[in-house]
């Protein structure tokens, strides 16, 4: 190759590399657009709300006076509703996912179920709210309660849990399954000794991501009848007179963080908007904590899984 050919080759490579550079810049811009939007939003909320965040804000009930108002009933409501959601969605979702992967025969019937599960993830959340209003509130008579809200959100995140479970199970190499079956294990022994333990990191991640979505849901919770102003907590077990039962709190009226925020943003006074920003800051913090927990748990659990 002579000097001139070498020169033109280098020029060609340089012109090809311009596309690498161009796409790199575009990619960073696209990434920034998403990240910066969130950062700007979060920063704005922090600036407006930070002045309101103190212990009193967390331990006070809502009030007509913005300066005295707090989010006690909202965050307690959110935590309790999430507890119900997790208790309902995890066993149902994991069982469904395990069944579809390890037990179900492959035929047209299970194909239809699979398509349905995937589609459920795309159903608007307000539809779940209407379903829950009809089913849980009116048909089952569970009332406009923490139980109803928790079950509604459980339905909402069930597809997420099922899909996460199935994907985690599919990541287990077939040769591990065969090794277990070759030891004389039944399908149930393979599932309980191997499949579920080895996929627990992926399942947990899916559950927490689902929960992080559920904690910010407003529409279905309003539909089933959460209160917008509530100045008492659900009864703790074995307190009050007459003494509350172990599960009485499940049937108590409630509110949740996004509804509290929604309520405050609709007020004309500037001070309530600051309250809303402060509540939003705490809600985002709760979500980020859950996501962080998911990452940490995944790391912890995967450390002991090597194929």
């Amino acid at each position: 190759m002579n000097q001139q050919e070498l020169q033109s080759l280098r020029a060609l490579i340089a012109s090809h590399k311009r596309w690498d550079f161009l796409f790199g810049v575009l990619g960073v811009l696209a990434l920034m657009l998403g990240v910066m939007t969130f950062v700007a939003l979060f920063a704005d909320m922090t600036i407006n709300g930070i002045g309101r965040i103190n212990i009193d804000f967390l331990t006070s009930f809502p009030s007509r006076r913005a300066a005295n108002a707090g989010i006690l009933s909202a965050w307690v409501g959110s935590v309790l509703v999430m507890l119900v959601t997790a208790c309902a969605a995890v066993p149902l979702g994991v069982a469904a996912g395990v069944y579809l992967e390890e037990y179900a025969p492959k035929n047209w019937f299970t194909d239809i179920i699979e398509i349905n599960v995937t589609n459920l993830a795309g159903v608007p959340s307000i539809i779940y709210g209407l379903l829950a209003l009809g089913l849980f509130v009116y048909t089952f008579g569970l009332g406009q309660s923490i139980l109803t809200a928790g079950l509604t959100l459980a339905l909402l995140i069930l597809p997420v849990v099922i899909v996460a479970t199935r994907e985690a199970i599919r990541a287990i190499p077939q040769i591990i399954r065969e090794g277990a079956y070759a030891c004389g294990a039944t399908t149930w022994q393979v599932v309980s000794d191997h499949i579920v333990p080895y996929s627990s990191a992926g399942i947990l991640t899916g559950v927490i991501i689902g929960m992080a979505r559920a904690i910010g849901e407003t529409a279905p919770i309003i539909t089933v009848g959460a209160l917008t102003f509530i100045a008492f907590l659900p009864p703790a077990p074995f307190t009050g007179d007459p003494s509350a039962g172990l599960f009485d709190w499940l049937f108590a009226p409630f509110t949740v963080m996004p509804i509290q925020m929604f309520n405050w943003t609709s007020r004309p006074e500037r001070a309530f908007l600051d309250n809303a920003a402060a509540a939003g800051f705490i809600l985002v913090l709760m979500t980020l904590t859950m996501n962080g927990l998911a990452i940490w748990l995944r790391y912890r659990l995967r450390k002991n899984i090597k194929w």
Partner: protein
């Protein structure tokens, strides 16, 4: 009959452990095994050789009903298992029962992502054994049987996956041995290992035949010649020739076997 070809060689025929009769196997509409007849003799090593795709692994996996795990598979014929003459392929026989009597070691080491101890103990746990002292003893015996005890006795709590490839394969052999199987199946157990680990496994197999019948698939003819008492040559789903290993390698009866052995084909 192919099955009795070794009668020509002046040798006492050992007792039978299993015998395949008119065994055919279909994956859906594809016939992978065609009318196979072959004995497996007790406490002997029997090798299955043949080019890729000849059906030797498929044949091996009939013995522990591994094909039952997947839909659309069909067995025809019988594999009679001695001394009780149970037909391993019969629909009336639970594949779980078959797998409890017959252990398997796979091509790629597949330890569970559990501790070394739990890997070996798994077969016992599946059988409902819960007495710690019994499990301890059997785990130790199995690891000794797999020539791994000396290397792992101080690290039984560590993950099986932390061992080297050859050690992992011996761990899988220990897992298979822990339940005192009557027949041990090996599916190309050294194909993923380096030469030293391969030599260790081969030596181990020669020791193991004192206590257990062994059926091994290998694509390495030298390995078959080194470790096995009997050898079967398969091609395109058919059993071409079965006989004493020396006879197969020194004076094969069939032209196809000779071509494969001498490297003119395959």
């Amino acid at each position: 009959m192919i099955a009795h070809a070794e009668h020509d060689v002046a040798e006492v025929v050992p007792p039978l452990k299993a015998e395949a009769r008119n065994l055919s196997f279909h994956y859906g509409s594809f016939q992978a095994l065609k009318n196979i007849n072959m004995p497996v003799y007790e406490r002997k090593v029997t090798s299955l050789i043949g080019p890729s795709g000849c059906g030797k692994s498929t044949y091996l996996r009939c013995f522990n009903r591994m094909h039952d795990l997947y839909p659309g598979n069909r067995y025809d014929g019988t594999i009679e298992f001695h001394p009780d003459r149970t037909d391993l392929l019969s629909k009336a026989v639970d594949p779980i029962e078959v797998r409890m009597r017959i252990s398997m070691v796979f091509q790629k080491p597949n330890p569970f992502p559990k501790s070394i101890y739990e890997n070996v103990a798994y077969g016992l746990r599946v059988r409902g054994e819960s007495a710690r002292s019994v499990i301890d003893d059997k785990v130790e015996a199995a690891l000794k049987g797999a020539a791994l005890w000396g290397e792992v006795k101080d690290r039984l709590k560590e993950l099986g996956a932390n061992l080297s490839g050859g050690q992992q394969q011996r761990l899988c052999i220990a897992r298979a041995l822990a339940t005192d199987p009557e027949l041990l199946l090996f599916d190309e157990p050294t194909s993923a290992l380096d030469p030293i680990a391969t030599a260790n496994i081969e030596e181990l197999i020669s020791e193991l035949k004192e206590r257990v019948t062994i059926l091994i698939v290998t694509h390495n003819m030298q390995q078959a010649a080194r470790i096995s008492d009997y050898t079967a040559y398969m091609y395109l789903g058919e059993m071409i020739e079965f006989g004493v290993t020396d006879q197969i390698f020194i004076k094969p009866r069939r032209k196809e076997t000779e071509d494969y052995i001498t490297g003119r084909f395959g």
